[in-house]
């Protein structure tokens, strides 16, 4: 546990601190940028390695539409779901490095590389154009739950049940969700039975229908249930309480001194893309982050509670730090040598 504390406090702390200074840089981008030798002269294609209805599909489309609004360049979406994003990544690596095809991906690409170095490193095998969503996780219970009403009583309940307390999760081995939960359960000395649901609808139905006791999720994905009062958060995976969840304990409040793994989403392009095209794409995608329509979308998803913007350099730092953390953690838990 000491190891986690040392690594996380240093690495992610630095990455988050860096991010604070970056939005200004993004906002100062020029309003227009001349197309390098007419690029792009036809629509771009965005490969989305997940389905159109999920968080990645919605994010990919929202940012692409913002790019179109500021550049008048249409972007066609190609959804290639499967294999936790690996199918889309493989398909993208086979496309020409001409800048006409971009890739949307999430932190799963970083953890996949940490687990298996033969998988592309998004920071060095690709060029991150922008990271435009960074969010934290929470644990939710039903609002009408009577067995426990807050984190303290939930922990007491879990201890009394001797491992028979369930939580709906994505729960793939080595996933951000599973790793974050491991730190909390180790700290509280509780055992939670993680039930793996790969799709949001059945996962939320499991909590709402009382099939599970709790849910691990990001707030933007369950906003409807929070607004309707069906779910309530009992723990926020951040060190400080965000204003929108001021009454929900953070990790620091429960005595856990780590920086949690975050969910982040962004756009990438091939490393060998002509530099002038990369420069234009960086401008377009970073400028799109600040576009009012995209900002409104991010706000709806609770993505304005912490700084969600990283430019190329900031994204590379975030990814490299995240990979470093995953590597250490995987070694600790025996997933890698």
């Amino acid at each position: 546990m000491v190891v986690y504390k040392r690594i996380w406090a240093g690495a992610i702390g630095a990455a988050l601190a860096l991010g604070v200074s970056l939005p200004a840089a993004g906002a100062s981008l020029p309003d227009m940028m001349e197309k390098p030798n007419g690029f792009p002269e036809r629509p771009l294609t965005a490969i989305i390695p997940y389905g159109p209805g999920g968080g990645s599909g919605q994010f990919g489309r929202a940012l692409a539409e913002a790019v179109t609004r500021i550049t008048d360049v249409p972007i066609n979406m190609e959804y290639k779901p499967g294999g936790s994003g690996s199918v889309g990544m493989t398909a993208y690596m086979a496309t020409p490095a001409d800048g006409y095809t971009v890739l949307e991906h999430i932190d799963d690409a970083s953890s996949a590389h940490a687990l298996d170095p033969s998988k592309p490193n998004p920071a060095s095998d690709l060029i991150p154009l922008v990271t435009a969503q960074i969010t934290f996780s929470q644990i939710y219970i039903r609002s009408d739950e009577t067995r426990f009403t807050d984190w303290k009583s939930f922990v007491a309940y879990a201890k009394s049940r001797d491992g028979k307390t369930s939580i709906a999760n994505v729960s793939k081995a080595g996933s951000m969700e599973r790793m974050n939960l491991k730190f909390v359960t180790d700290h509280e000395k509780i055992k939670l039975q993680q039930i793996s649901f790969d799709k949001g609808g059945p996962r939320y139905a499991a909590l709402k229908g009382g099939q599970v006791d709790a849910l691990f999720e990001q707030p933007g994905d369950v906003r409807g249930f929070l607004d309707s009062g069906d779910f309530k958060p009992i723990l926020t995976f951040l060190n400080e309480r965000p204003a929108a969840f001021a009454d929900v304990p953070s990790l620091k409040d429960i005595g856990l001194n780590i920086n949690p793994l975050m969910r982040f989403r962004g756009y990438y392009v091939h490393k060998s893309t002509p530099p002038e095209r990369v420069k234009w794409l960086q401008w377009a995608f970073q400028k799109a982050f600040h576009e009012p329509g995209y900002q409104a979308f991010n706000k709806k998803k609770f993505m304005d509670l912490i700084d969600s913007f990283r430019d190329t350099k900031g994204s590379q730092m975030l990814i490299n730090d995240t990979i470093g953390i995953y590597r250490k953690v995987y070694k600790e838990v025996g997933l890698t040598q």
């Binding site: 159109p52 489309r61 959804y79 499967g82 690996s86 996933s175 609808g201």
Partner: protein, 496 residues
């Protein structure tokens, strides 16, 4: 009733809404009929444009596409053995053999009528159902019960289309084995991928279905032509008679119930509904051997059930904010584009939207009946196209369909391998229907089994505390035991 009338007036008093309704209806039917390019493709294309429509028109458009798209794939399944979507695959089990027997009009007519009937019943149930039903469904049916439901369905799958019970079981088990290719649904462990990254996502069932059904059929017909035994299917426009439908009333009602029930459970939907509807028709039939060989009840059961799932799938979405499948998940995106979240508050804050959607789905199903009737009178004539023109067209359509689903060439390879395997297996008395059942039910079954075991803390005896799941498991086990007993005791009767 007042709400329904008000919703109907709102829908048809606005010319834009009427245009969107008609566009969604025709678009859904066309995209649903083309293999690979499903209603989901159309919905994904239209999604960004719904931001320019009112929230009511946007959601209404998607709900109409949903109704029409589920029906659309039945026609090609019956005429050419090419299911437009997985939920139409069981329709092909008996629909295509009916075409070969010269009963294409009867099969398409039954599909049209039953799709419209199943969808209309579902729309009516949807209107009368409340959030109470949705809440009951998600409380009573968790992964242990869904796994038990899949097991109950699989128990009868061996009876479909194989020469013997044993070959039926081997077919189903082969399908189950294919379903395990790719990442396991719990731990993300890589299985049978042979270092081919595309296989990590598993073998997609659309190329597999196209291969087993369409490609293998073309090869079989080619062989018949080479041997001089080929006979072009007779074109018939005979609709099923009222007497025939009356005889199948129990199957229709059963499929409405099954379809509605499967639709209301998030993550289950029309695919499982169609397979379960078909399987139950087999289970309760006195002569199981007639299924897979051109039995009208097979078409009726499958098409009623898959359309009955459409209205039901809207209940958890609208009442609880829980999308049950890919299309309903996209509807959440439409809601969010208009600063809305589906769920109980929609009923309170946007009652008119709900009733416009309800009435649009009701009328979409009625339109399916009339448009489908016209379609039957025309599309059946496609069978007059000579085989040497039809076969390349089928192969081309299937190839485009297999590629279009994910844009991966590996899916075309999978389709042709499945086609050749299907040809050889069918010659040997194995059942491609059983294999497809194994693949579809295997994917859902494995995931829900893993979830069930986690929820039951790896103690199967916990099923004793879940009466619905226990009853389904016992029912499935009894079916298997009975079938084995029958095959051993009366080997001739068990053989097709």
């Amino acid at each position: 009733m007042e709400n329904f009338i008000a919703g109907t007036l709102m829908l048809f008093s606005n010319s834009t809404s009427v245009l969107i309704f008609v566009g969604g209806l025709l678009g859904g039917m066309i995209f649903g009929a083309i293999p690979g390019v499903s209603m989901l493709t159309l919905a994904a294309i239209l999604l960004p444009f719904t931001g320019h429509l009112s929230a009511t028109d946007g959601i209404m458009l998607f709900s109409v596409i949903y109704c029409a798209g589920v029906f659309g794939g039945a026609i090609t399944a019956i005429l050419f053995n090419i299911p437009g979507a997985p939920e139409n695959a069981p329709t092909a089990f008996d629909g295509y053999p009916m075409t070969q027997k010269g009963q294409a009009g009867k099969a398409v007519g039954a599909a049209v009528l039953c799709s419209a009937f199943g969808g209309t019943c579902s729309a009516i149930l949807m209107m009368s159902a409340t959030a109470v039903i949705a809440n009951w469904a998600i409380s009573a049916f968790g992964p242990p019960e869904v796994f038990a439901l899949v097991f109950f369905g699989l128990a009868v799958a061996s009876s479909v289309g194989a020469a013997t019970l044993w070959k039926g079981w081997l077919s189903v088990l082969f399908g189950l084995m294919l379903a395990t290719v790719g990442l396991d649904p719990v731990g993300g462990i890589e299985r049978y991928d042979f270092d081919i990254p595309y296989l990590l996502a598993g073998i997609h069932f659309i190329p597999t279905i196209l291969g087993f059904f369409a490609v293998s059929e073309v090869i079989i017909q080619m062989e018949k032509r080479a041997r001089g035994t080929y006979e072009a299917p007779k074109v018939s426009l005979d609709f099923p008679s009222l007497v025939e439908f009356w005889r199948l009333k129990v199957a229709v009602i059963r499929s409405v119930v099954i379809g509605f029930f499967c639709g209301i459970l998030p993550g289950i939907g029309a695919v499982l509904a169609a397979f379960m509807g078909y399987n139950e028709a087999v289970r309760w039939s006195r002569d199981k051997s007639k299924f897979g060989k051109g039995e009208l009840e097979g078409v009726v059961s499958s098409e009623t059930a898959n359309n009955a799932a459409t209205g039901a799938a809207m209940i958890p979405l609208l009442a609880l904010g829980l999308p049950g499948g890919a299309l309903t998940a996209m509807m959440v995106g439409v809601f969010q584009m208009h600063d809305m979240e589906p769920g109980p508050l929609v009923f309170i804050n946007s009652g008119e939207l709900i009733w416009v959607v309800f009435s649009a789905m009701f009328f979409a199903n009625l339109c399916i009946f009339f448009l489908g009737w016209l379609q039957t009178k025309t599309v059946v004539h496609l069978l007059r196209i000579p085989f040497h023109f039809l076969a390349p067209a089928i192969l081309m359509m299937a190839t485009v369909g297999a590629y279009a689903i994910r844009g991966l060439t590996v899916d075309i390879v999978v389709m042709f391998i499945a086609g050749i395997a299907g040809f050889l297996l069918r010659r040997s008395g194995y059942s491609v229907a059983g294999i497809v059942l194994g693949i579809i039910l295997g994917k859902i079954g494995e995931q829900t089994f893993a979830q069930a075991m986690q929820m039951l803390y790896y103690d199967p005896m916990e099923y004793l505390n879940r009466p619905i799941g226990l009853a389904l498991i016992l029912g499935g086990a009894a079916t298997i035991v009975f079938n084995i007993y029958r095959a051993l005791r009366f080997p001739a009767a068990a053989r097709a």
